[in-house]
């Protein structure tokens, strides 16, 4: 059941038949996904499902060899460096560990994209960065170094940096990871507020069920590199797929053991 927001919106991210490999192992296997304008898409899966790898491809940290990724209608594998740069200005990314620059204080971290991509004067940049820090409830903390911040504050500072250029799409990698439930819940609220206030499209990668159900407009469930299903929160909750049910019920799937593979693992490939 799609919300009116999704039905009216155009796709801003389109992934078609994406295949990625690490050596001979397939990490993402024929992944297809569409994210519409203004929605919060949660990509969910367990450890090793390929969700973080998918995020790294979506933000252009790896180049696409097989399949197509279109961001804002542009095939990212065919972009020239100048076009990529323009596209990157419309993307904000909040990494799992924050990835704040440890040698700079919070204010300088948030100002960094402005300093590199605009010709604004220092005072204007400071005002913009304070505005963004205000949005994430971190005003007054701009002089602190990242090492002086708590886990939740690091995530919020990273979010302020991600939105400082007023992006069209914001990506979050595991926003709740490593946070206590109360702080994680506050961060979820913040994501919803930012989507509504800034009218951005949000893509969240997480393994936290509670957080995913709270913020998602739609969810994509990944398992061992494959998309099991894409749908609204209700559709995911009502899914009869056993692997989706396992994920929702936090139940591990029992895999049959291949005797040859088992022997090869034990002997380290010698036998």
């Amino acid at each position: 059941m799609n919300s009116p927001r999704q039905q009216a919106a155009a796709p801003v991210i389109e992934v078609e038949n994406l295949v990625t490999c690490y050596g001979e192992q397939r990490i993402l296997d024929d992944v297809s996904l569409t994210v519409n304008e203004g929605e919060i898409m949660v990509i969910m899966g367990g450890s090793g499902s390929g969700k973080s790898t998918l995020l790294r491809y979506l933000v252009g940290l790896h180049s696409v060899n097989q399949g197509v990724i279109r961001i804002l209608g542009k095939d990212i594998s065919k972009l020239r460096s100048g076009e990529w740069l323009q596209l990157r200005k419309k993307i904000g990314v909040s990494f799992q560990g924050g990835a704040l620059f440890n040698s700079m204080n919070v204010g300088d971290n948030v100002c960094m994209p402005l300093r590199e991509h605009t010709s604004l004067d220092e005072r204007t940049m400071r005002i913009i960065s304070r505005m963004k820090l205000e949005v994430v409830n971190l005003s007054g903390f701009e002089h602190l170094m990242p090492a002086q911040l708590s886990g939740g504050m690091v995530k919020r500072a990273a979010l302020a940096r991600a939105i400082v250029m007023d992006p069209t799409i914001v990506f979050f990698d595991e926003p709740s990871a490593g946070l206590d439930p109360v702080v994680a819940s506050e961060l979820d609220e913040l994501i919803l507020q930012i989507r509504d206030a800034l009218n951005v499209t949000v893509v969240v990668v997480t393994h936290e069920l509670e957080s995913a159900f709270k913020i998602a407009d739609r969810m994509a469930i990944l398992d061992r590199g494959r998309v099991l299903m894409v749908g609204s929160v209700d559709e995911v909750r009502q899914s009869n797929d056993q692997r989706v049910r396992n994920l929702l019920n936090r139940k591990s799937a029992q895999e049959p053991v291949n005797a040859d593979d088992y022997l090869r693992r034990l002997t380290g490939g010698v036998m």
């Binding site: 790294r56 940290l61 100048g82 990529w84 740069l85 990157r88 200005k89 990835a99 620059f101 991509h117």
Partner: protein, 281 residues
Amino acid sequence: MSHCLNGLAVATELYHNTVRRSIETLGRRFAAGIEDIGHCAALLAESAFWILLGRWFKQRVRSSAVIQEMMNIGVNAVPVLTILALANGAMMAMQGIYTLREFGGESQVISGIALSVTREFGVLIAGIVVAARSGSAIAARIGTMQMAQEIDALRVMGISPVRYLVAPILVAMLIMMPLLTVLSNTMAILGGGAFSVMELHISLGTYIERVLTVLAPSDLMQGLGKSLVFGVLIALLASSNGFSANGGAEGLGRATTRSVVLCIGAIVVADMIFTFFLVVR
């Protein structure tokens, strides 16, 4: 009997597998070495691009970052370089005077110090000091950033990590290495002078006058030319090791050690090649 044959077959297979894996490991290391050289060449080309054309693309290499690197690489290295160069110059004078005394030619030590310091040892001491200090610091800093996803953060912001991190280091090296070499030459010659004045019973003025008489501009240029190459080698090897750091704290330590060893090894080998072509040929 069949048990023995089976055992022999298993042992033979194990032996073949071990040999095959050893050859594979050797091949992989060789390929990794070639890849490292390619990575350094790519870093050099991209850094040169941003230094020369960055302003044109409105992505210039920031002068504040260059000045910061010049402080780290050059100014902060002055005390230790001064001490090492002074001590090295004095040691050369001691060895030279006592060795040449056997032939009654101890006064020739001044020519020996002047030429070997300006052509060889001044730049080598500066190179080793910078490789040891900055080779480790650069690799550790970039490696930490790599592991904390700060490099990824730069890339998704549309900021080239090479422009932001490597290009300022390269420019700072190209400026500071010749200056440090001049300092190293001066201190080593003064260190040698201090001992020579006492042993040869000459004045410092006479010593300096004889040094200046012996030296030709080409001797100084030889050392300064090498210093530029050493600077480029240290910048590229240290940055490359930082970018390839992985595996947590242990991996970072490994990358830092590897960086210092490779930097010192590279400058010594490069120095030998230079000396061969500039002196022997």
